[in-house]
Each structure stands twice: as structure tokens, then as C-alpha cells.
């Protein structure tokens, strides 16, 4: 049984209640017991000094690839959740495109159990939309939800068949889960390895046009409107995509969406020199798109910041650009990149950033997280917003190193991560 923990003297920011004030937070029995000033520590309690730090609900990442089962060389549920804790995340959602895929209740149960056993962060699986991620037949959605799935997606593979997407959205309503969608019309992007534009033309690489994403975002928004189902648009990267979502929300369509730190901090220029760590799908886009994603995170059109943490072994990325796999990792850099690019650069207030990284994603997926309300799970992140640090991928807890942010100097990082009242990550924030 975890001992009570008193987090003392921090600036407590809880976007779920609009709370932002100096306060102590008392965690007892795995729950938030009290938030207030000058709280006494109960007998046998541990204390954590948060003076000068920000104390907020634990960060939530709704888009993480843990690679287990099948890709344990790149990441495991244990190493991925350890990386999450190191990055300040207390809850992560695991994508089902593993090998074998997570498309039945037993597989969902396996991921949940492995996450609980590792105990570094809460791991919530998403189930597949379609059996085998093949895009043909609906997977057993109800049974997967019963086994602990918090949503469904064929991420990595767009659901090409519009009729199947309609069924998924309608059927998902019965279980009140979102259908997360990787929006890509493959017949427009096939063969592409980066954004289509000036840089792809110069490098002689095949481009993936914005329209490949926009067309399917539009389709999914129409289908959500038709069905009343909950659609969650993953990793939005285009200006037009953000406009479509903004318009749909204004019409009352039930849509949530995410932007990634790499898409609002990098452009396709990062691919120069055939940098495979910048090869990601959807691709890094133009400066205009980058700004639009950033603005959409700022105004809440994109409810969540998600990493799309996609580990790859170093020898897979050590190839000619076309041959290297898509994906980069983000769990251990997301908070620092977001704080630096959004808050330090004054696009977003600190409470709003925490909303996008905790309360927003928890609400999008109906998770019991993202709040310090009394009785809520004792998941807390303590952030040193002033800490200046240099990313050194060699020190990552993730099993992979494929980050374009290696060597970047960032401002702000998690100095303590607490899950269920237990400290799962702690560091000296005074560096």
C-alpha cells in the first residue's frame, strides 16, 4: 500500500476545474484527498517539495506505439511506459497496430495487464477498427471495450472503406467510445516519403500532398455528422485540415483532434540531407501548415497534444531515406518541446497547455484522468517550467533513439511523475 504523499508549496494548475493557485496536494490511498493551502501531512506521509514548480494532473498521451507484441526490439510496454513516466505522462493510449494486432479482447487484456504489471504509467489500449487491421470487417468492438479498450483505430492504416467507417462510428456509439482516424488517402500518397512541395522537388523524393490528408478528414467529419458517432482525428498536419475541423466543431459535429509536437515545431526542411529521423507519416509539412497546427492547438481546435511516439530500431533508420520506416519518438521530449514552442514563445498560456496535454485528451477518450478533483486517481505531474536542458537521446528510457530533437535545448521538463499516489519518476529539477 502506497503511503500518503503531500506535494507541498507548488503552483497547482488544474484545468478541469479552472484552478490555478499556490496550494498543497494531498494524495491518500491512490486518490486525490485534498487540494488546499497549508495542508497537514498525515502520519507516515511522504512529502515532496514543489516550491517554484507547477503541480498539475498527470499528462495524458492518447497516441503511443508500444510495439509489443511483435516489435519488442524497438519498444516494449514496459520500456514505453517508463519513457512516458520520464516525460511526465501518467496515462498513455497504446495503438493496436502491433504484430499480431490488437483486434480481439484477449489482446486488449494482454496490453492492459502488461501495462499494469510494469506499473510505470497507466496503459489504456485502443482496439482495432477492423479484423487484422485489414479494413474489411468490424472487429469485436464491444468485447474489446469490455476488456478495457478505450477507443478503436486502425492507425497506421487509414480505414479506406467509407461504409466500414460509417459502421464503426455508428457501432461505437453503443459503447460511447471514439473512433480515432488516421486520415490518409493512400492513392494520393502512395510511394511518398515526405511532404509534397518545394523540398521534395529539390531532394528528388516522392511527395505526399496535403490533399491526401484533407480529403479523408472531410470524409470522416461528414460521417461523424451523419452517424452522431465520436470521431477523433489523429495527427492533424495541414492548414486546411484544421479549418475543416474548426468548421465542423462550429456546426456541432462530435469531433476531437490532436496535433503533435513535431508537426507544430518542425517543417519539411528538417528532411534536408535525407534525415531519416524526420521521416514521419503524416509528413512534416510547410511553414504555413506548421503555423496553422500551432494556432489550432492554441485555440483548442486541436483538443490534444499527442506524440504519435513511434519507436524504430537504429539500424532501420540507418538507411537510404526511401527505405527507412516512418516514425519518430516523442514521449520524453513532448513536454519540453511544447513548453518551449507554445508557452515560452507565448502562443498558449501554461494552464491551456496543461489542458491540451492532460484534461483535453482525457475527455476526448473518456478517461478517468486529467483532473485533480477530489477522489480522482492520484496521477500528478510536477513540472519545472524554468529548467533549461539539452536533449540527449542516449539517456532516453525508450528502447529507441529516433528523434529529430536530439541536441535541442528545451525549456521545461517533468521533475516528478506520480501514478496512483506512487512516485514513478523523480529527478533533481535544479540543474
Amino acid at each position: 500500500m502506497t503511503r500518503p504523499l503531500l506535494i507541498r508549496g507548488g503552483r497547482v494548475i488544474d484545468p478541469s476545474r479552472g484552478f490555478d493557485d499556490a496550494a498543497d496536494v494531498l494524495l491518500v490511498g491512490g486518490r486525490v484527498e485534498a487540494v488546499g493551502t497549508a495542508l497537514g501531512a498525515p502520519d507516515g506521509a511522504d512529502t515532496l517539495d514543489a516550491a517554484g514548480k507547477v503541480v498539475c494532473p498527470g499528462l495524458v498521451d492518447v497516441h503511443v506505439h508500444l510495439r509489443e507484441p511483435g516489435g519488442e526490439r524497438k519498444e516494449t510496454i514496459a520500456t514505453g511506459s517508463l519513457a512516458a513516466a520520464a516525460g511526465g505522462f501518467t496515462t498513455i493510449c497504446a495503438m493496436p497496430n502491433t504484430d499480431p494486432p490488437i483486434d480481439d479482447p484477449a489482446a486488449v487484456g494482454f496490453v492492459s495487464a502488461a501495462g499494469a504489471r510494469a506499473g510505470h504509467a497507466r496503459v489504456f489500449p485502443l482496439g482495432a477498427v477492423s479484423v487484422g487491421l485489414a479494413g474489411e470487417r468490424l472487429a469485436p468492438v464491444g468485447e474489446m471495450v469490455e476488456a478495457g479498450a478505450v477507443g478503436i483505430t486502425d492507425d497506421g492504416h487509414p480505414v479506406y472503406d467509407a461504409g466500414l467507417m460509417r459502421l464503426a462510428l455508428e457501432y461505437g456509439r453503443s459503447f460511447d467510445i471514439p473512433v480515432a482516424s488516421h486520415c490518409e488517402v493512400r492513392s494520393l500518397s502512395r510511394g511518398g516519403s515526405m511532404n509534397e512541395g518545394v523540398v521534395s522537388t529539390r531532394l528528388g523524393l516522392t511527395g505526399m500532398p496535403n490533399a491526401a490528408e484533407d480529403v479523408m478528414i472531410a470524409r470522416d467529419l461528414f460521417l461523424a455528422e451523419l452517424t452522431g458517432g465520436r470521431v477523433h482525428i489523429q495527427h492533424v498536419t495541414t492548414k486546411r485540415g484544421t479549418e475543416l475541423i474548426r468548421d465542423a466543431k462550429a456546426r456541432g459535429v462530435t469531433v476531437t483532434a490532436e496535433g503533435t509536437p513535431h508537426h507544430f515545431s518542425l517543417t519539411d526542411e528538417a528532411v534536408e540531407g535525407y534525415q531519416t529521423h524526420a521521416k514521419v507519416n503524416p509528413p512534416l509539412r510547410s511553414e504555413q501548415d506548421r503555423r496553422a497546427v500551432l494556432a489550432a492547438v492554441a485555440d483548442g481546435t486541436l483538443d490534444c497534444i499527442a506524440t504519435d511516439h513511434a519507436p524504430h530500431h537504429y539500424d532501420e533508420k540507418e538507411q537510404a531515406f526511401d527505405d527507412a520506416p516512418f516514425g519518430l519518438i516523442g514521449l520524453e521530449t513532448a513536454l519540453g518541446v511544447s513548453l518551449s514552442r507554445l508557452v515560452v514563445d507565448q502562443h498558449l498560456s501554461l494552464p491551456d497547455l496543461i489542458h491540451r496535454m492532460s484534461t483535453g485528451p482525457a475527455r476526448a477518450f473518456g478517461l478517468n484522468a486529467g483532473t485533480l478533483a477530489l477522489g480522482a486517481p492520484a496521477d500528478v505531474t510536477v513540472i519545472d517550467t524554468a529548467a533549461s536542458w539539452t536533449v540527449d537521446a542516449r539517456t532516453f528510457r525508450s528502447r529507441s533513439r529516433n528523434t529529430p530533437f536530439d541536441g535541442w535545448t528545451l525549456t521545461g521538463r517533468a521533475v516528478a511523475t506520480i501514478v496512483g499516489g506512487a512516485v514513478v519518476h523523480a529527478m533533481d529539477g535544479a540543474e
Binding site: E196, S200, R202, G204, L205, T206, Q319, A320, D322, D323
Partner: protein
């Protein structure tokens, strides 16, 4: 060892006009070697060169091989094929193996854009790009430049139009950068499906109609239409391609009398170029082949540390 060209020749995008002109001048000097009864000089004696062809290209490989042999280098040909992933794994392992064998130069042809640079960053040997994906093919562009200069006496101020599949062409990119660097005006012409996004950002104008391009140009560089592009639907049929974009004598009637027609070969006669043009008075296609050997000799010589001004003296020793 930094040479006049740097360690490697990956492309023309980052070469200066001075460097490009020095290659052309050196090639001019080396041309004469191929006219000798004994076509061999000791310029690269003792140097080991590996021709690493991950993609078949008989013409380019043979041209490099002639260039290497005429400079007395020891050459090894390595042909490698396989799946896309296997190719990538081979590339990094190949780099390590080459490094271990202490070879001096590598000529690489690979289907992936960036492959030559990838190798160059990982081995100390000089690397010459013999075509990477749809990125660059610098020696082909250099031989085109040399051929144009031979016939027109200059590059500066000429109007050159590249005709055909610019999207998939490494030759086109290298040509565009080299020509622009030497002061030519450059245009492209072909079906819009075979033009890269934002092609004008490369600094070229885009003619939709071949008739306009021919009327404008001093030089036409006609690219080969890969027949698989038709199967992939970029053009509806070869007949239609020839009808709207083919270079024929009828169309050349509207051109200036001294228009030059280049083609990197191998040609699809009756598709992108008609035989009466290929074999006609405007064609300099066979000169391109001759110049290819000289240009490659020049590149190898300069990368091996030769100075442009010493080229004449360097070749003397072999008589």
C-alpha cells in the same frame, strides 16, 4: 583530403560555376586521350575504384569503366539487386565493407534518392554519384553541358528546354542546377502529371505545349520516357505521348536552324523522339556519349586530388 571539388561529387546543386567550368575544361583536355592508339595514361595508377551499381545501367557503368581504365585505375564492378529493404541493409553494410577494404573511390548508382550522399557520409573514400533515385545524376549533366558548350561555344545566355518526365528524372535536376549556375535560361516541357510539385521554384519556366518550347529554345534536352510510367497511368498511351510531346522533324521546322537536340539515352524511338530527329542534323546524341567518358575522367582526376591547371601535364606521362 579536400580536393578542388571536395571529397565527393554528389550533385551539381552545390557546385560553383568555377568548379563546373573547371570540370568541363579538364574534360576538354582529357578528350584527346581517347583519340590515341594506346588510350591509357597513368593518372590514377595504383588507385582502386569500385563501381557499385545497385540498379542496372549498362551505359553509365561502361562509360565510367572506360574512364577509369584510361586513367589506369584498378576497377572492380559490383552489381547488387534485391528488395527495397534488403538494398538498404546492404548499403550500410557495404559502406562498412568498403571502408575495411581501403579502396580509394566509389562510383555508386542506387534507386534511392540520397543514397550516394548516405554512402559519402560514412566512408572516407571519394564517392561519385552515378545516379541516385530521382535526385541527381551529375556526370550526365556535365556531359550535356560539355556537349552544348562544344557546339555553341558557351552556356551563358542559352535557352535550354528539358522535355519529358522531369518528375522522375535525376538527369533533369542536375541539368537544371548546372545550367542555371552557368547562366543559361532553363525551361521544362511535358505533361503536368510528369512535373514535380512547384517545379517553377527550381528557377525554370514551364511550357505546357511542345510547340512553344521548340520555338523558344536553343537546345532541347529530350528525356527518356520510362515505359512503366504509362502503365502507372501518368500518360494515357505512348501514341498520345508522341502526338503531344514527341520531338519530330515537323515540329523542329519551327525551330531556329541551329537548335541542338540532346538525349541521355537509351531512346524510345517514335515515342519521345522520332528517328529522323535522333539521326538528323540537329542531334548531338553521339557526341554526348563520347563526352561522357571525358567528363568522367575529369571528375575522377579532380577528386583524386588533381588540379585543373595541371591536367595537361598529368596526362603526358603515358605516351
Amino acid at each position: 583530403m579536400p580536393t578542388f571539388l571536395g571529397k565527393d561529387l554528389i550533385g551539381l546543386e552545390h557546385l560553383s560555376a568555377e568548379q563546373i567550368l573547371a570540370i568541363l575544361d579538364t574534360a576538354e583536355t582529357f578528350k584527346e586521350i581517347s583519340e590515341r592508339p594506346i588510350k591509357k595514361v597513368p593518372v590514377l595508377r595504383g588507385k582502386t575504384i569500385v563501381n557499385l551499381f545497385f540498379e542496372p545501367s549498362t551505359r553509365t557503368r561502361i562509360s565510367f569503366e572506360f574512364a577509369e581504365k584510361r586513367l589506369s585505375a584498378d576497377t572492380v564492378n559490383v552489381a547488387a539487386t534485391g528488395s527495397s529493404v534488403a538494398k538498404g541493409e546492404t548499403l550500410v553494410d557495404t559502406a562498412r565493407n568498403l571502408e575495411a577494404m581501403r579502396i580509394d573511390m566509389v562510383v555508386i548508382r542506387h534507386s534511392a534518392s540520397g543514397a550516394a550522399r548516405f554512402l559519402a557520409e560514412r566512408i572516407p573514400s571519394n564517392v561519385v554519384n552515378a545516379g541516385d533515385g530521382r535526385h541527381e545524376h551529375p556526370t550526365q549533366a556535365l556531359l550535356d553541358l560539355l556537349t552544348i558548350r562544344d557546339h555553341r561555344g558557351r552556356i551563358d545566355g542559352l535557352k535550354v528546354c528539358i522535355v519529358g518526365d522531369v518528375l522522375h528524372s535525376r538527369v533533369a535536376r542536375s541539368n537544371i542546377w548546372g545550367l542555371l549556375r552557368l547562366g543559361a535560361e532553363v525551361a521544362v516541357c511535358g505533361p503536368a502529371t510528369l512535373m514535380p510539385a512547384a517545379v517553377e521554384t527550381l528557377g525554370v519556366r514551364f511550357f505546357r505545349r511542345i510547340e512553344e518550347a521548340i520555338e523558344w529554345a536553343d537546345v532541347l534536352n529530350v528525356l527518356r520516357l520510362q515505359l512503366e510510367r504509362m502503365q502507372a497511368g501518368y500518360v494515357p498511351s505512348l501514341r498520345e505521348y508522341n502526338r503531344f510531346f514527341g520531338v519530330s522533324n515537323d515540329r523542329l521546322a519551327a525551330a531556329s536552324d541551329d537548335i541542338l537536340v540532346l538525349h541521355p539515352g537509351p531512346m524510345n524511338r517514335g515515342v519521345e523522339i522520332d528517328s529522323d530527329v535522333a539521326d538528323g542534323p540537329h542531334s548531338v546524341i553521339l557526341d554526348q556519349v563520347t563526352n561522357g567518358v571525358a567528363v568522367r575522367m575529369a571528375v575522377l582526376y579532380l577528386l583524386a586530388g588533381g588540379a585543373p591547371e595541371a591536367a595537361e601535364a598529368a596526362k603526358g606521362g603515358g605516351r
